[in-house]
């Protein structure tokens, strides 16, 4: 590429009476002979132009082609390493003034500039992002800069974030309670929303698709079946709900534990806190399971595919019946009614019978009671009768 020299000067407007003077016909002063130093890229280019007899424009084109060829040869350009799509994120003022003491509250992904990847970031990407940040924010880099040279707060935040994210267990704990998803999680479509939507089918997939996608990250079993599309067959839909009703989540809530007071030596105190934390974790876990169950329930209740499948099944049944014969089909309704009536009658009869049986049982009971009475009376009479005899 030709170098363009940017000049900071701004020429003033032309005088009103100025007209371009005609060329004077003069040429530039005679050239002088010089001996170049055969050194450097510029000399090489100068020679190339002379040898190949190229004009500046042609040479530019050649140089561009050469550059492209080298780039293709060396992969992603010369000297530029592939950063695996980590990229550069803007650092807000808020982010840079984070307090490393409050590291539990910081968003580790945002600190490392990975907020576009989050739980999807691979360890390699985290490493690259960390290196990038360290190169920029290492205290040694800031030593010479005017101002507070001791300001390594953000660097500490970076180190903390890297520590957390590079440890798989701690990363899971953080991912479990990632503050970024807190807000989104609350935004789950309700059944009424789906029903009220103009196009319920489309809305269902649009609204629930991302919900299941983000919940899927917690699954121990991978891959996780996704919501899919409206045309999925019955088996797929059933498998989907089956999976989600038996969801096996690794989500845990240790990250939100209250700090055990390290300062106190009181063992009881410690145990108490630990116990409370444990209980709290279990409560949260339970809540989370319930929350997910709720989402799946809602989805199932408004899933247009279920409706469709039922409809299809019904149609299939009807089609089957139709195949048997049109007459049958005609009387199907009557038959159904008859069946219903019969069932009702049956039920009535059963109820009557039951009532009768109950009455019978009552009678029998009463009779038995009477009989027992009689027997007792008889026995008493017998003893009464006998006593005087004996007396």
């Amino acid at each position: 590429m030709p170098t363009i020299i940017e000049l900071p000067v701004v020429p003033q407007p032309l005088p009103a009476n100025w007209t371009a003077p005609a060329s004077s016909g003069k040429s530039i002063s005679p050239l002088v002979e010089r001996r170049l130093l055969p050194a450097g890229q510029a000399y090489l280019e100068h020679v190339r132009r002379a040898v190949h007899n190229l004009s500046f424009e042609e040479h530019d084109k050649h140089a561009e082609e050469e550059r492209k060829r080298l780039e293709a040869l060396n992969g992603n350009g010369t000297g530029i390493e592939d950063d695996l799509g980590v990229g550069d994120e803007e650092e807000t003022e808020e982010l840079l003034t984070l307090d490393p003491k409050e590291w539990k509250k910081q968003d580790h992904y945002a600190v490392l500039g990975l907020s576009h990847l989050r739980y999807k970031a691979t360890p390699e990407q985290i490493k690259i992002a960390h290196r990038k940040k360290v190169l920029k924010h290492h205290p040694d880099k800031k030593a010479g800069v005017a101002g507070d040279s001791n300001d390594d707060a953000f660097f500490k935040c970076i180190q903390k974030a890297f520590d957390v994210l590079m440890n798989p267990e701690r990363r899971r704990q953080f991912d479990s309670v990632d503050p970024y998803f807190d807000l989104i999680e609350a935004d789950v479509p309700t059944a009424s929303q789906v029903q009220k939507a103009k196009n319920p089918e489309k809305f269902f997939f649009e609204a629930f698709g991302p919900v299941f996608e983000r919940e899927a990250r917690f699954s121990r079993k991978q891959p996780v079946p996704m919501l899919g599309s409206y045309d999925d067959p019955k088996e797929v839909v059933e498998a989907f709900y089956d999976f989600w009703y038996n969801f096996d989540s690794w989500r845990s809530f240790e990250y939100l534990d209250k700090e055990v007071n390290e300062g106190s030596d009181n063992r009881d105190d410690k145990r108490y806190t630990e116990k409370k934390n444990k209980a709290e974790r279990q409560r949260r876990k339970k809540e989370d399971t319930a929350r997910l169950r709720n989402i799946v329930d809602t989805a199932l209740s408004v899933d247009p595919r279920i409706k469709r499948i039922r409809q299809e099944e019904k149609e299939a049944r009807e089609a089957k019946k139709k195949n048997k014969g049109p007459a049958n089909a005609q009387t199907a309704k009557q038959k159904a009614e008859e069946e219903k009536r019969k069932a009702e009658e049956e039920a009535k009869r059963k109820a009557e019978e039951e009532a009768a049986a109950r009455a019978e049982a009552k009678k029998a009971k009463a009779a038995a009671a009477n009989a027992a009475k009689k027997a007792r009376r008889a026995a008493r009479a017998a003893t009464e009768g006998g006593q005087p005899e004996a007396a």
Binding site: P2, T3, I4, I5, E6, L7, P8, V9, V10, P11, Q12, P13, L14, P15, A16, W18, T19, A20, P21, A22, S23, S24, K26, S27, I28, S29, P30, L31, V32, E33, R34, R35, L36, L37, P38, A39, G40, Q41, A42, Y43, L44, H46, V47, R48, R49, A50, V51, H52, F56, N74, T78, G79
Partner: protein, 639 residues
């Protein structure tokens, strides 16, 4: 080849895409090596002793051979077997060498066999011959002869300068190969400007004997230029600049004034002087410290020149210690110490010297350098104010005092590595490594050249010395744009002057400049126009009396005694327009309104052909930085 236990330097698989080339700065007193770094630059590397500045010295002691800084230590006790300062003798005949060659090291003598060839005679111990011939079963054969001596035999060895150079270069390359872990593919070696063809041939032969593929013998000024032009243009400089290279090595001063035009460099004037240098600085300091020693211990110590053997040894010790003192002075603003154990008569010596004192002691050398710089610049027909950048080369040039006393004479805007703070900490302007780094960068360019077609071979050949392509024509006057202004000051140019193609620009040349043009407030047609002039640049020198310092009220007024105040020279760069070449004007189509004024961005391309034909084209560029407007072209025929 027998398998070596630790593997060989030959790597069968190319791991990295970096070519394994090195740049060697081969000075008379010190050498340095640089390799390419991953970042696309070059780094000076240390040898196995951890030295980046490797002394050009070889010493023989018994069966051992020392190379580099270890050999320098031998100058104290074993000076007769220590060879230094051999580079400058390369390619010279014995009859050409002046008799007063350095006496502290091994003497240069006539080679006993080759006529008119200088050589060094050193005493070595040859390893003892194998005591007894062995038989196939590796048992000593029965022999009637007496058992030969088993200790090493003292012998004289004659080494030609070329052989010494070969030994030294071999050790440098070995250091580089140890560092890289690979065989070196080629090297660029720096040479001083004053090297004759015979000396170049001798160096190339010595390097080839050492097994080095010499890609180019590059003039030191060229190496410095490559180093300063690779990478971004430093703050305060443009791609077109005049560069002064001050090379103050241990044994000499060489100055070059270069015209740097978009990376293309040609020399305007060069000068070399072997009377000043690091050794001369050492002389001054040795004298100073010897005086201190005498003052402290009441022991007489006569140095420079030393008379008896004891004094000579003391001087050699002081010289070695001074190396460290000078480095400390260069690196830190505080005082530096010089300490020698048992300097003379078993007395230890420790003294400190502040930077101020140091500068005072060597003031005469600074002044000498300044005088030479003035001589050089005026020889090129320029003024000190025309110099845009100073580049320092060589160990002695790292002294901040030199920069301080030199820059006094230059324009305030002159850029030096000291001003930019790139001298210390391995910065880009580090004078001790700049040559080797430049040579390595040059080697990188050369190794990538193809050789498959005739044209490619020609391109490669153009890097040899004195090739036809190094001949180029250059403009003699600055060509620029003049934007006429309504109420420009009288006597001036009558408008805004924008120099585009500076004088001393090799042709063919192309320059593209971009800038905003103010079009005024008015609506309607907006006209852009400018004239193309050839201009004469100069420096106006005015003698101005310095403003009188107001005397204190109570001071007695005795005007007779007051000295006539010296007039100060005030310099100013001037531009005079000489001849109108052509002009351009057109109506702006893509103007934008900013703060009530219309502006447009103009891109002007100026091309000077090989024959001197000038082509000026201008077009507007929009916000997208792509040329948008119509291109207006004017041409001026070749002279």
């Amino acid at each position: 080849m027998a398998a070596q236990p630790n593997g060989t330097a030959e790597a069968p698989i190319e791991v990295s895409s970096l070519p394994t080339v090195v740049g060697i700065n081969f000075g008379n007193s010190y050498a340095s090596i640089a390799v390419l770094s991953k970042e696309g630059g070059a780094d000076c590397i240390a040898n196995e002793d951890g030295e980046r500045q490797i002394a050009c010295a070889i010493a023989f002691h018994g069966e051992e051979m020392y190379i580099g800084n270890q050999a320098k230590q031998q100058l104290v006790k074993n000076s007769q077997n220590t060879i230094t300062g051999f580079r400058n003798l390369l390619g010279k005949k014995f009859s050409e060498i002046s008799a007063n060659a350095s006496s502290t090291s091994a003497p240069v003598i006539q080679h006993p066999e080759i006529p008119d060839e200088p050589a060094y005679k050193v005493q070595i111990l040859q390893p003892a011959p194998s005591p007894l011939p062995t038989t196939a079963t590796n048992t000593p054969a029965a022999s009637k002869t007496a058992t030969p001596r088993s200790e090493p035999v003292p012998a004289d060895r004659y080494l030609t300068v070329s052989e010494v150079t070969t030994i030294f270069l071999k050790s440098l390359i070995k250091s580089a190969e140890d560092f890289l872990g690979k065989k070196v593919q080629g090297a660029v070696i720096t040479i001083p400007t004053w090297f004759e063809q015979a000396q170049k041939d001798a160096l190339e032969k010595a390097a080839n004997d050492a097994g080095i593929t010499v890609l180019q013998l590059l003039e030191e000024a060229g190496a410095a230029t490559v180093c300063t032009t690779s990478g971004p243009v430093p703050e305060g400089l443009s791609v077109d600049r005049t560069q002064l290279i001050v090379d103050l090595g241990a044994s000499g001063l060489s100055l070059s004034l270069l015209s740097l035009r978009d990376g293309l460099a040609h020399s305007l004037a060069t000068l070399s002087d072997h009377t000043v240098g690091g050794d001369a600085i050492d002389d001054k300091l040795v004298k100073f410290f010897a005086k201190e020693f005498t003052k402290k211990t009441k022991t007489p110590l006569n140095v420079c020149p030393a008379t008896d053997a004891q004094d000579r040894r003391a001087e050699a010790k002081l010289r070695l210690a001074l190396e460290h003192t000078k480095r400390t002075i260069s690196a830190s603003p505080g005082a530096a110490t010089c300490s020698v154990e048992s300097l003379k008569d078993g007395l230890d010596f420790t003294a400190t010297i502040t930077r101020l004192r140091f500068d005072m002691e060597v003031r005469s050398i600074y002044d000498h350098v300044y005088a030479k710089v003035k001589e050089l610049v005026s020889a090129a027909g320029l003024d000190l104010y025309d110099v845009d950048e100073i580049v320092y080369v060589g160990g002695s040039a790292s002294l901040p005092g030199l920069d301080e006393s030199l820059t006094l004479g230059f324009a305030e805007s002159v850029v030096t590595p000291f001003k930019q703070g790139t001298v210390v900490g391995g910065g880009a302007g580090d004078p001790t490594t700049i040559l080797s780094r430049g040579a390595a960068l040059q080697a990188k360019i050369l190794i990538q050249l193809g050789e498959s077609t005739e044209e490619e071979r020609e391109v490669k050949a153009s890097f040899t010395h004195g090739h036809q392509y190094t001949q180029a024509k250059a403009t003699s006057k600055t060509i620029g744009l003049l934007f006429p202004e309504e109420n420009a000051g009288e006597g001036s140019l009558g408008g805004q002057w924008i120099p585009v193609v500076l004088r001393e620009t090799p042709v063919p040349a192309r320059r593209i400049v971009a800038f905003d043009v103010d079009l005024g407030e008015g609506e309607g047609e907006k006209k852009v126009g400018f004239e193309v002039w050839e201009a004469k640049e100069g420096v106006k020198i005015e003698k101005v009396k310095p403003p009188k310092v107001e005397d204190e009220e109570g001071a007695p007024e005795d005007g007779e005694e007051e000295e006539e105040e010296e007039e100060e020279e005030v310099k100013e760069k001037t531009v005079e327009k000489e001849s109108l070449l052509t002009s351009l004007s057109f109506a702006a189509q893509h103007a934008q309104q900013k703060n009530g004024r219309w502006t447009t961005r103009l891109e002007v391309t100026m091309k000077v052909g090989e024959d001197g034909a000038l082509e000026v084209s201008a077009c507007e560029v929009g916000a997208s930085a792509k040329p948008e407007g119509e291109k207006v072209v004017a041409t001026v025929p070749a002279p």
